[in-house]
Symmetry: C2
Subunit: 215 residues, 2 copies
DNA sequence: TAAAACTAAACAAACGTTTAATTAATTTTT
DNA sequence: AAAAATTAATTAAACGTTTGTTTAGTTTTA
């Protein structure tokens, strides 16, 4: 149905992709000009059309680049028979948070694109990726229901909305969090670790409460 | 600190504001031209500069218009002495979901702006509004901790991130939800009611699990 | 020496904003 | 109450920039 291109990109193309990703996430797709990108990446404007065809195709390349790169890591989890569903869910939460925290530009960009209705040709790519993630989590939860670890009547859509929505909002609002909690002085790296830990524990306790059987 | 303008807008200005809000939310701020807005609102392009000064000031007017309009409703809750903290929290959840579901364009636009770093002059306005919401919820939770309804060690920042993040993500991804769960045939109004109910129950059970003392 | 990588310059189209003129509404003066 | 004066609302056209893309030529690589 969806032709997943998953192109190979050369060094220069990756350089352009990562520069564009950073600028798009900071100023928005329409708010960033190809001249901005060219200047920031230290290349000629024409190279963007030369390598990608258009600005539109460039953002598609960004999503192609990041999504194909991201999917691989999660798949290994499912096969591992030695892990209990509870542990698998915990690992998925950690894995998602790690991906998001170390690719904040991309997730910021994805948040923007999600919120825009008349969207670029990446809608199908995102839909496809979301479906696969949803299917995977569903499988694990069904597994947990079979073993008796998890309760019946779990709404996976809302569970995923909570994982993704809470994580995104918390990350994107980190400057508010810093100001509101008077943490201006904390070094950036330490602050990021703090966010990760807080967020991880929070989501795990939510998932535990929603998944496990009442005592 | 922040001069909350809370201007009065005449009929024509409101018409422009609401048209712009709809277009901005659908195509993004930079993706929408003043000509788009003028055409859709059935007015001359120059009227936008005439009434608001610039496109930039127009989006500020949108946020001024919506945020000042929104804040009033929540405040009444706090004063009501007859309601228990538990009920108050439930009412806040319902109130937030209702506001969001009946102003989807505005919340979509706010999601976009939140995700963009180099943002417009509305940052302070949003920060101010968020702080006030946070303070209010904090107050209610402290009240619940005094009465013994709520446990100690509640992270209000993460609680709010879950309320706002989950709600936004669920709403913004409603088309995915429709497709993934084969609900294409359900009438729009019924579908919206369905989302509201699902989301409300979900968030209430999360808040209950995170706030109340373990049995 | 052919293909690939790269460049400066030019392209038309679209952008937000302003101008100058006209119509509509309101206030002031008779 | 009518006429005049003043302000507000509205318009079409033009403004100078900036936009994404292309061209035609040059340099580099294989």
């Amino acid at each position: 149905m969806i032709e997943t291109k998953t192109m190979e990109y050369n060094e220069k193309q990756v350089q352009i992709i990562e520069t564009a990703e950073r600028l798009f996430s900071a100023k928005g797709f329409e708010g960033t000009s190809v001249r901005d990108i060219a200047q920031e990446a230290g290349i000629n404007i024409a190279m963007i059309s030369y390598y990608f065809g258009s600005k539109e195709k460039l953002i598609e390349a960004i999503f192609d680049y990041r999504i194909s790169y991201t999917r691989l890591t999660m798949l290994g989890l499912l096969q591992d028979e030695s892990l209990s569903p509870t542990i698998k869910i915990e690992k998925i939460i950690d894995s998602y948070i790690n991906k998001m925290m170390s690719n904040q530009c991309f997730y910021r960009l994805m948040s923007q694109e999600r919120a825009i209705l008349e969207v670029h040709n990446i809608t199908e790519l995102i839909y496809d990726s979301k479906s696969k993630n949803m299917d995977m989590v569903k499988k694990i939860i069904h597994e947990g229901q079979r073993t008796g670890e998890f309760r019946k009547n779990v709404d996976v859509s809302l569970l995923m909305a909570t994982l993704i929505g809470t994580s995104n909002h918390f990350t994107v609002s980190q400057e508010f969090y810093r100001r509101y909690n008077n943490m201006k002085e904390m070094p950036e790296e330490e602050f990021q670790k703090h966010l990760k830990k807080k967020l991880g524990n929070h989501l795990k306790s939510i998932f535990k409460a929603l998944l496990t059987n009442e005592a």
